[in-house]
Symmetry: none
Subunit: 203 residues, 4 copies
Amino acid sequence: MKPLRRDAAENRERLLAAANQVFADHGLDAGVEEVAQAAGVGMGTLYRRFPSKQALIDALVGNLRLELLELARSAGEREDGSGLRWLLFAAGELQAAQPACLQRLWRHSDVEPEAVTEIRQAFADLLADAQRHGTVRPDVTSTDITLVIWSIVGIIDTTGAVAPTAWRRHLELLLAGLRPSGQPAAGLTEPALSPAAAAAITG
Amino acid sequence: MKPLRRDAAENRERLLAAANQVFADHGLDAGVEEVAQAAGVGMGTLYRRFPSKQALIDALVGNLRLELLELARSAGEREDGSGLRWLLFAAGELQAAQPACLQRLWRHSDVEPEAVTEIRQAFADLLADAQRHGTVRPDVTSTDITLVIWSIVGIIDTTGAVAPTAWRRHLELLLAGLRPSGQPAAGLTEPALSPAAAAAITG
Amino acid sequence: MKPLRRDAAENRERLLAAANQVFADHGLDAGVEEVAQAAGVGMGTLYRRFPSKQALIDALVGNLRLELLELARSAGEREDGSGLRWLLFAAGELQAAQPACLQRLWRHSDVEPEAVTEIRQAFADLLADAQRHGTVRPDVTSTDITLVIWSIVGIIDTTGAVAPTAWRRHLELLLAGLRPSGQPAAGLTEPALSPAAAAAITG
Amino acid sequence: MKPLRRDAAENRERLLAAANQVFADHGLDAGVEEVAQAAGVGMGTLYRRFPSKQALIDALVGNLRLELLELARSAGEREDGSGLRWLLFAAGELQAAQPACLQRLWRHSDVEPEAVTEIRQAFADLLADAQRHGTVRPDVTSTDITLVIWSIVGIIDTTGAVAPTAWRRHLELLLAGLRPSGQPAAGLTEPALSPAAAAAITG
DNA sequence: GATGAATGAGATTTCATTCAT
DNA sequence: AATGAATGAAATCTCATTCAT
C-alpha cells in the first residue's frame, strides 16, 4: 500500500470531486465517462484509480462516512447535553453539501463498516447524554435517532436541488417532538420552505 | 378517447400491478421485460398500452396521486381537527404499500397536476383546521407539512423492505413536534425500529 | 425449453455459421460485432441467442463435439478393423472444415462432456478392434490415439488456411507408424505439402 | 547499432525471460504490464527495449529460431544418418521448454528469415542423409518433415502444461512411420500419456 | 535512462424501443 | 390486437501505447 505519486493523488481527488458533482447533478446513473470528462482525465485514469464504478461510489460513501465519524467524535466532546442536536445539524449540513450518494450512504455496504458502528454508538451515547440533561424525552430510543437522520436524508433528496437548507426547519420540528413533555417548545428560527419552491419541486 | 376493450383494460391493470411489484422489489432500474413477464404479456402489449417506460411509471405515479387525492377528500370531511393527523397516517400507509415510485411521486412531473394542487390545498386546509382546534402550533406552515410527507417518504425508502411500519413511530414524533407549546406530549404507541433491523439496513 | 420460432432459429444458425467463418478467418479474438455483421443481424440479436461470447464459442465447440460423436458411432459399426483409420480421417475432415475453435475443441470445458467421454471410449474400442485384426501394433495405447488427433489439430492449425488437406498425408505416415512390425508399409497416396505452400506458411 | 549499455542489456534479457514465462503461463493474450512486473521493470523500460508487444514476441520467436538453427547445425555434423532423428528430438525439447510463442514460431513473420531458410535446408539435407542410410523410406519428402515438427507443436501446445514430455512417444511413433518397409519397428521406449492426464486436459 | 501514471480506442454487454409474424 | 425477436445506441471496462516526472 505505497503512497500515490503526487500527480496520481491529485487526479484521484479530482475524480472524487467530479463524481460528487456529476452524481449529485444527474444521479448515480450518470455515465462514468461524464465523470472522467468533468475531472479532465481519460477513462483509463478513472479505472486505474477505481477498478469499477461501484468502487468509485464506494469511495464517495466511505469518505462521507469518515467525515461523519469525525463529526460524531467532535460531538462526543460536548458534555452539556447539546451534542445530539449539534451532531444532527452538522450531519445535515454535510449531507446537504454532498448529496451525490445519499441513497447508498445508509444502505448496507462494506465500506468503512467500523465507522458506521462507531457513528451509531456515538448517537446512542449522545442520546443518553441528552436524556440525562433532560432535553430529550426518556422514551426515545437510539433507533428513533437513526430514523431522524433518514428522515433528513429524504428531505434533502427531494428538496436539496432547489432549497438546500429546507431540512433545517424540519429538523427543528423533529427535535421539538423529542423534547420532554413539560418543556416548552422553542420558536422556529429557521425559515420555512417557500411555497414557490415547494411548487417547483412537485410540479 | 374511446374506452378500452375489456381485455385491453385487463392487460393494462395487470401491467400496472406487475410494474408496482417489480419496481418495488428491484427499483425503477428494473427492465421492462421483467415487468411484461410478471404481467404475463408480451413486450408488444406493454408498449401498446404504455408508449414508453416513462409513461408506465407516470401511470403509477398518477394512480398514486389520485388515491392520495381520495384520501385527502375523505380527510376534509372530518371537522374535529383530526383530519391532518389522519391524512398523514393514511398517506403513509398508502406510500408504504406502494413504494414502487416513491422517488418520483413528489418530483416534478406533469401527471395529474390538479391532483397535486388539490392535495396541497387539502393539507393547507387541514393544517388551518388543526391549528383552529389547537392541536398544532400556529407557527407551522403548509410547507412544513409537505416536508413531513417527504420525510416519511425518506423513511419508507430506507426501511420499507425490512420494517414496513417503522415510519409510524417517526410520524408520531413528528406530530409531537407540531403540537402547541403548552400541550403535553402523548406517549409513543408505535414500536420503535428494532436495533437488529437498523443494523440489517445499514450494514 | 420451448422450441425457437422459425426466424429465431434461422438467426441462430446464421450466427453460428458466421461465427465459424469469422473465428476461422481472424481467430477467436475477432470481435463479436464482426460476427453479428457477418450474420446480418444486430448485436442485440446475437446476445439474445448467446448470452456471452463464451457461450457462442461453446455452442460451436458443442456442435463440433456432437458431430464427432456421430462419426464415432458410425465408425463403431464397422467390424473389419478399419474403424479406427476411418474415424481418424473423418475427424480430420471435420476439423479441417471447421477450424474456428480447434484450440478449444480438445481443451477442458463443460460443453457436452458426455460426448467427449463417449468419443474417447469409441477410440479405445476401435483401437482394440484394430489390434485384434492385426492392423495396429499391440503396444499402442488409447492415449497414443488421442495424441494422433491432437497432432492432426496442430497440422490443421498451421496449414489449414493455405493447404487444407495437407494433414491427410501426415495421418498416413502416422498410421504407418502404428502398423505392426512385420506388416509392410503401404505407399503414400496423399500428395505431400508443396514446398511453396510450406514457405508461404513459415515466411 | 551501437551496443547496449550493460544495464540496458540486462533489462532486455530479464524482459525476454519474463515474457517467456508469462506468455507460457497465460498465453500471448497476457498483458504487457504483467511482463514488465515479472521482469521487475517499469512499462517505460519495456517500451524502450521493445517498441511494441509484437516486437517483444518477435524477439522471442527470433531467439528460438536462432537456437533451432544452432541445433540444426549441430545435427548437420553427424554423418551416420542419425541427424534427422536427433534434430527432431532436440527441437522438441527446445519447444517444450519454451512454449511461449509456439503458435507464432512457424507462422509467417519476418524475424530471422535466413534462419528459417537454413533450418529448412538442414532438415532437407538430414532427410536425404537418412534416406541414404536407409533409415527413412524414400518417398518421404522434405515437407513431410516440416509437418512432423508442426505435429509435435500441436501436441506440446495441448499437453505441455500437464504432461511436458508426452510428445516424445508420439515422435517415436512418427519416426516408426517414416522407416522403410522392410525395417522392423523398434519398441516404444517413451511412456505413453497417462489416461488421467488426457482426461485432465480434455475435461 | 527508468518509472509508472495517463491515454483513448475498442471490446463486451445491456436494455428501451420497434417491428415482423 | 398480441407476441417476442430484432435493433443499436450507450454503458462499463481493458490494455497497448505514450509521456510527464
